[in-house]
């Protein structure tokens, strides 16, 4: 055995040996070296003691109040996330706009169509009014498709029937 005070270049390989990085042949060679080298054998003993001491350490624990504070912040953020129903708000706005446009078109066009037979209106005016009403109905149909069932029932149900009746009567 070599002297325990003599440095051996193989001591740098002890960690790799402990980690099982060596293949079978290299392991056998290193074990044989340990039998012959007091320096490496001594270092291996210290390395194993260090390994035992490290494994006895316990991980730090997060204080409960720190975790609770994080959860409180998350709860606030979660509440802010609730109005993620932005698409729904946008959809309602769109439906309301479509409804207003359709109603305005009908208010202008229906009186013309209602008195289409009178000579006060030209054929062109009647045709224009007819197109306005058709556009209004197209908007109503799209809005009806986009709106929720409740909005559809509330907003379109009766008025659509009345408008349709007025249009039929004007023809």
């Amino acid at each position: 055995m070599t002297s325990s005070t003599a440095p051996c270049p193989n001591t740098d390989r002890i960690e790799a040996f402990l980690d099982g990085d060596f293949g079978p042949d290299e392991t056998d060679t290193f074990v044989a070296h340990l039998d012959a080298c007091a320096s490496c054998d001594h270092e291996l003993t210290l390395a194993l003691r260090l390994q035992d001491s490290l494994s006895a350490l316990t991980p730090s624990r997060c204080p409960d109040d720190v975790f609770q504070s994080a959860l409180d912040r998350i709860a606030v953020l979660d509440q802010d996330r609730a109005p993620v129903a932005r698409p729904r708000t946008a959809r309602r706005r769109w439906v309301a706009g479509a409804l207003c446009t359709a109603v305005a078109a009908l208010l202008i066009a229906l009186p013309i169509l209602d008195r289409a037979a009178e000579p006060a209106f030209t054929q062109a005016e009647v045709e224009s009014a007819t197109r306005d009403v058709e556009l209004a109905f197209a908007l109503l149909a799209e809005a009806s498709h986009t709106a929720t069932e409740r909005v559809r029932n509330d907003a379109f149900g009766r008025s659509a029937a009345q408008i349709n009746h007025a249009l039929t009567r004007s023809r």
């Binding site: 960690e15 210290l46 624990r61 994080a70």
Partner: protein, 173 residues
């Protein structure tokens, strides 16, 4: 979709422990932990669950670096010394009652705290938190081989620092 709080609870100790060792300050560690938990809640669902630990530690490390930079910018004075963690055994309120193993533990934790980064984090994540090499490499953004070299170097430094104490274990009580 935000993560369930049970997942956050599972990561909280590791996040706090990492931040405490990295910043050396319990208050900073608490701030970092809260920030990281919020980020984990927001974005963790988009991370592969098998890589979530590494992702979380990477975010924690970056948050710690930001925290230290901000602290350095605020105060010109030196950073506080790293704190020792979990050093007091339950029944040892007096130094006279410290056992040899507790004494070794105190020295060991101080020796780890004295290591530079990334050696300190590597030792702790591997030896205490028991993470795989791959998880640590991902968390610290190091190549696997480099990580192993660093780990071996860190252990050797600890061995050299603690040599007198490790040798005294030979002595009869």
């Amino acid at each position: 979709m935000p993560l369930d709080t049970a997942v956050l609870a599972a990561h909280r100790h590791r996040i706090y422990g990492f931040a405490l060792r990295f910043t050396g300050c319990p208050d900073d560690a608490a701030d970092v932990t809260q920030d990281v938990l919020v980020r984990l809640w927001r974005h963790g669902d988009s991370v592969d669950p098998e890589r979530r630990t590494a992702w979380t530690l990477r975010v924690t490390r970056n948050a710690c670096i930001d925290m230290l930079r901000a602290r350095k910018a605020r105060h010109a004075h030196t950073l506080p010394a790293p704190v020792l963690v979990d050093i007091a055994p339950d029944d040892a309120h007096s130094p006279a009652h410290l056992t040899e193993s507790a004494d070794l533990r105190v020295h060991l934790e101080q020796a780890i705290a004295d290591l530079d980064e990334p050696y300190r984090s590597i030792i702790w994540l591997r030896e205490v938190d028991d993470l795989s090499y791959q998880e640590i490499a991902d968390a610290l953004e190091l190549p696997l081989n480099t990580l192993k070299v660093y780990l071996h170097r860190a252990r050797k430094r600890l061995r050299d620092t603690l040599r007198p104490i490790l040798l005294s274990e030979d002595q009869p009580a």
